[in-house]
Subunit: 247 residues, 2 copies
DNA sequence: GCATTTATGTGTTAAATAACATCTTTTGCC
DNA sequence: GGCAAAAGATGTTATTTAACACATAAATGC
């Protein structure tokens, strides 16, 4: 049935040409919690496009019209808002394999956030109109998005309070733990599975880059973490959690 | 068909007994964007309970198990989180007639927020299990919640950035405009249709009560607003918007 | 390989805002 | 009506954090 689709697809991300077999992408595409019938799945696969993004490349921008549901096949993505004076605030992150970029489409708005790749990423895109059609005749698919939106809203509310009420140390500790939650750790069970610039870390924690650097150094000096360039190793999670809770 | 339901329902809110005819509530209950069939509507009405809440009375608390979809029939409600040092942050507000209190249920969590009545309110409650059932066989109903959650998430993200990046004047200006958006104005077209304590205003704007009072006075002195006790009259919306944008 | 940009690190100063202390006014209650 | 409690108002001080100014190190492009 899918035999006809096993040709290679060439993905062009500006200067870099990456070759990925479409079948490899398909194998990774999650089935939306098993909500789709084989026919629906086929429909989606026929309309799906795949694109690769370079590190730091923008995926969509504030003001863009959302036309596709995005699925992060591999890589890591930040969703952020540009605030006062060009200062960015990361509001969410996505890890593979995860759907994103549908909120604006579902509320009939243009994007109010931007998205960019933390690291080289491959993204499948599905026309949002098709998803909308499927939702209207597949309650399980609708429920998938209800659930995901409800979870995201809970996190966003928590984030609002954490970022506004906690002091710098609390916010940074929280971000480190958030990154562990979101992207996991390496084989040693301690080193965060993502490398962020100090600036990204600051944008995640609502502080200036200088203060991110300073506070990170403090944590290292207190042996709460160990730093190796952009790699962060969590040495004392209990205390970080305490700092995060206390504000 | 609904004839049998036209008895009076007695609603007891602690010390106060309010008498409301159920039919009056029913007339106001929105039909979830027309998503319900007559049979589904009947099902909901049979299971629906109605309760009145006094001013400042708690509707649900952080940690409570969400068991019902809530519909604010009349009154005004705040949804808030208690943060560091007992300081509260209002994350959302609800106006009549509006559904709320479903986020936690949809993500299978206990409430992570609390809700309380800004003013005397009447709330209809519908078992969330029933709603869940209806969602699973009525995609239009599911879409209603997808849309509402998507809108709420967009607002929450915007709020995160506004509360973290703007300065006090910008945050207060924004809150005043937010209240106009949310609750509208009186017949004069200028006076906010809600009376908040200075403390609530502070909790909405992420600042101390002292600073809310001070900044409010400044705005009044600059003729941006006029204060009459808890009543706020917007005199110069354009400038407030500018202050809100500039941070 | 060298120049140029970009990222990181550190000290100093200035601004924003919370904390605190009072005082006054209003509200609720018996 | 009078008392107590809550809400509102205002001044002062202390703390937090941003802004700025450099310095150094690392990455990038030619």
């Amino acid at each position: 049935m899918l035999g006809a689709k096993q040709e290679k697809v060439y993905l062009c991300a500006v200067n870099v040409v990456i070759m990925i077999k479409k079948e490899d992408v398909l194998a990774k595409l999650p089935d939306l919690d098993g909500a789709l019938s084989p026919e629906e799945r086929e429909l989606i696969l026929n309309k799906m496009q795949v694109r690769a993004f370079r590190k730091n490349e923008t995926i969509y921008q504030e003001g863009d019209i959302p036309s596709h549901l995005l699925c992060l096949i591999s890589g890591k993505v930040k969703i952020y808002k540009d605030g006062v004076g060009g200062r960015a605030q990361i509001v969410r992150v996505a890890d593979a394999v995860e759907y994103f970029g549908y909120r604006a489409a579902f509320s009939d708005e243009n994007y109010v956030t931007a998205a960019a790749a933390f690291e080289p990423s491959v993204i499948a895109t599905i026309p949002i109109g098709l998803i909308r059609q499927l939702i209207m005749r597949n309650p399980q698919l609708a429920w998938f998005f209800v659930r995901r939106l409800a979870i995201a809203l809970g996190k966003s509310d928590a984030r609002t309070v954490n970022l506004t009420q906690k002091h710098i140390r609390g916010r940074l500790a929280e971000s480190i733990l958030f990154l562990k939650e979101s992207y996991g750790v390496e084989d040693d069970g301690q080193t965060l599975n993502i490398s962020l610039s100090r600036e990204d870390l600051a944008n995640l924690s609502n502080m200036t880059t200088s203060n991110a650097i300073r506070t990170l150094s403090s944590f290292a000096q207190e042996n709460l973490i160990a730093l190796n360039g952009r790699k962060i190793k969590i040495l004392n999670e209990a205390t970080l959690q305490k700092i995060s809770r206390m504000g």
